[in-house]
């Protein structure tokens, strides 16, 4: 053992001397940006990587499989109601004989669409408001943040029910209802980060160099915010999906016969007493797996971007 130890040391030594001679370590002349470092760390996180693959598979399934399905989501067949899963109907059929497999895929499209679009909207609004408030500070900050506070105070459920009763059930309305809630968190997070960054010395250095304010925001602030925004996106998507599913479950979501996972779960829950387990279990497992994957990816990203928090 002793011998192998010295041998290894010798190898290491030669390697080290070489590095000392060139005054650098491996990959010395290539820069390794913090984001690339984070990606390397993310790749080492097995759960996060696995979740990312599963998420990718689910999304591809949602997009591709309905094209090959012999049924459509609205196609009824009253001769084949409440069929349990079989070769003909993989996930069985519902009370109107509709193919659950197709409905889960189509419903998933809607659910994920709502999740992504609502997140995107909230990121754009939240980042703009948060970064402006944080960077400019003073009265601008006060006014913007008080608006955020007021919106926080709105009882969200009343707001959603009010919208639906006033304008009917509508895809766009769900976006508005969800977007109005989730961008608030984003704005607060971004504002906090911006205020922290603003006091860093490299911002002062940029001021001394005479860099314009607009350039400081884009080149120095936003670039440092990208990491936290990425993490936030992966945690907001499941959040908005949850809200969308919840609204649908309450019957405030999408108009039938179109459906989403919330609607499917709601349908399944109504007939669970008659042992039609597949109607509830299948859409809920899809939802659970998707949400879990998003959360794992988000946590993985956060750990990767901020390695100090691992311990």
């Amino acid at each position: 053992m002793e011998k192998s130890f010295t041998l290894r040391q010798k190898k290491k030594n030669a390697y080290f001397l070489e590095k000392v001679a060139t005054n650098s370590y491996e990959g010395a002349f290539k820069g390794r940006s913090l984001y690339y470092d984070a990606w390397l760390r993310f790749k080492k996180n097995r759960i996060a990587k696995f979740s990312l693959v599963v998420l990718g598979l689910i999304i591809v399934m949602m997009i591709v499989l309905p094209w090959f399905s012999p049924y459509t989501y609205a196609q009824q067949n009253l001769l084949e109601v409440y069929q349990s899963p079989s070769a003909k109907h993989w996930f069985g059929t519902d009370s109107l004989g509709r193919d659950i497999f197709t409905r889960v895929m189509i419903g998933g499209r809607i659910t994920l669409e709502i999740g992504f679009v609502a997140t995107l909207v909230s990121v754009v609004i939240g980042t703009l408001v948060g970064a402006t408030a944080g960077f400019l500070g003073g009265n601008v900050d006060n006014i913007l943040m008080r608006i955020v506070d007021v919106l926080y105070g709105l009882p969200f459920m009343f707001f959603a029910i009010l919208l639906v009763t006033l304008f009917g059930r509508n895809f766009i309305l769900i976006f508005i209802a969800i977007g109005a809630v989730v961008w608030l968190d984003m704005a607060r997070v971004v504002r906090g980060q911006t205020m922290g960054l603003k006091n860093r010395q490299f911002i002062e250095a940029a001021h001394v160099c005479g860099v314009k304010e607009r350039v400081i925001i884009t080149r120095h602030i936003i670039r440092n915010l990208i990491g936290i925004i990425a993490v936030y996106i992966t945690l907001t998507v499941p959040g908005s999906i949850m809200i969308a599913v919840f609204l649908s479950f309450l019957g405030l979501g999408i108009q039938p016969p179109m459906t989403d996972w919330g609607g499917l779960i709601s349908d399944g829950a109504q007939v669970i007493a008659f042992n039609y387990w597949w109607l509830l279990l299948i859409p809920s497992s899809f939802l659970t797996v998707t949400l879990l994957c998003f959360n794992f990816v988000g946590n993985g990203l956060r750990d990767a971007l901020d390695p100090r928090e691992q311990h």
Binding site: K10, K12, F16, V20, Y25, K44
Partner: protein, 330 residues
């Protein structure tokens, strides 16, 4: 018999970038009522050494070796036993008083708690003792200040409260980890003087960790110089300043600016400290050393006694070859 006996202490950290060798084969001993200065730059392992003694190493640390306090092993014992020793027989002062004082608890409670836990004393006894200790660290107007919260005191006063807290259980060993780094020079002078007086008064051994060799000069009996996780030189204070054999020690001496010296150019040590996850195989200082030869980059030098009046250990292959005083003046 010496109070603290540290033998072949190693600390490694498992990280994503591989194994980081924070401390390599560090051995030293400490007599009763002696002050040992540990000098080194950041990453030299001086703080990690004492954290390992206190069982405070980070979760991903692998600690091996032995450290005996009065013959009782400290490394690897269960936390419950360690808690009996920590704060009772060994106390520690940290660099930043605000991070080690709880901002939501009054000074009185913070001082009394460890005593009530370790010595099972009553609240009244503990309070009386706390006032005595705050008096010992020369905090003026204690009766009124004991109910204050830490942030209501100045930095120097906070550090004094830390010292008082460390002394509550009359420890036999006080570890001060860069106690003056966050303080201004005039406050540093006050605190160092105080520590010295307290040490005489309480007859405790002290380990003073610092990056400033000038602080050591005034406050310590013995000095251990560390570099990249190894001890490079260890001697009585007067011996070390009279004859320093290791090139790193002499480098530190000449690089430290002096307010009383006439020369204006500082002698610098070229290069950068090594990356602890890619330590050179031989002497860790060899890439920066002006005297390095082939052997330095191939073998680890071991600590050898230089046979001065007292024990004077140096880990350098070329320790005997050059008289450091000459290199100093050249």
């Amino acid at each position: 018999m010496s109070l603290l006996e540290v033998n072949n202490l190693n600390v490694r950290f498992k990280t994503n970038d591989g194994l980081v060798h924070a401390i390599n084969h560090v051995s030293f001993s400490l007599d009763k009522a002696e002050t040992l200065g540990v000098v080194g730059e950041s990453g030299s392992g001086k703080s990690q050494t004492v954290l390992a003694l206190m069982g405070l190493s980070a979760n991903n640390a692998l600690v091996s070796g032995s450290a005996k306090l009065d013959g009782k092993e400290l490394i690897g014992i269960p936390t419950k036993e360690l808690n009996q020793i920590r704060g009772n027989e060994i106390s520690m002062i940290f660099q930043d008083p605000m991070t080690s004082l709880n901002p939501y608890v009054t000074i009185e409670t913070q001082l009394c708690e460890p005593m009530m836990v370790h010595q099972h004393s009553t609240k009244a006894q503990a309070r009386r003792h706390a006032i005595d200790m705050l008096d010992a660290v020369r905090i003026p107007d204690i009766a009124n200040r004991i109910k204050l919260y830490p942030h209501e005191l100045s930095g120097g006063m906070q550090q004094r409260v830390m010292v008082a807290m460390a002394l509550m259980c009359k420890p036999r060993l006080l570890i001060a980890d860069e106690p003056t780094t966050a303080l201004d020079v005039t406050v540093q002078a006050q605190l160092l003087k105080l520590l010295q007086e307290l040490q005489d008064e309480f007859k405790m051994a002290t380990i003073l960790i610092t990056h400033d060799i000038a602080v050591v000069a005034g406050a310590c009996d013995r000095v251990m110089v560390m570099y990249a996780g190894t001890t490079v030189e260890s001697a009585q204070i007067h011996d070390l300043f009279a004859n320093h054999y290791h090139p790193y020690t002499s480098g530190l001496m000449t690089a430290t600016p002096r307010v009383d010296s006439a020369q204006t150019k500082l002698q610098e040590i070229t290069g950068e400290p090594p990356d602890l996850s890619h330590l050179p195989a031989g002497c860790a200082f060899s890439p920066r050393c002006p005297r390095a030869t082939d052997i330095c980059s191939q073998q680890h030098p071991v600590l050898e006694d230089m046979h001065d009046q007292n024990l004077h250990y140096v880990a350098c292959f070329h320790a005997r070859e050059t008289d450091n005083k000459e290199t100093l003046n050249s």
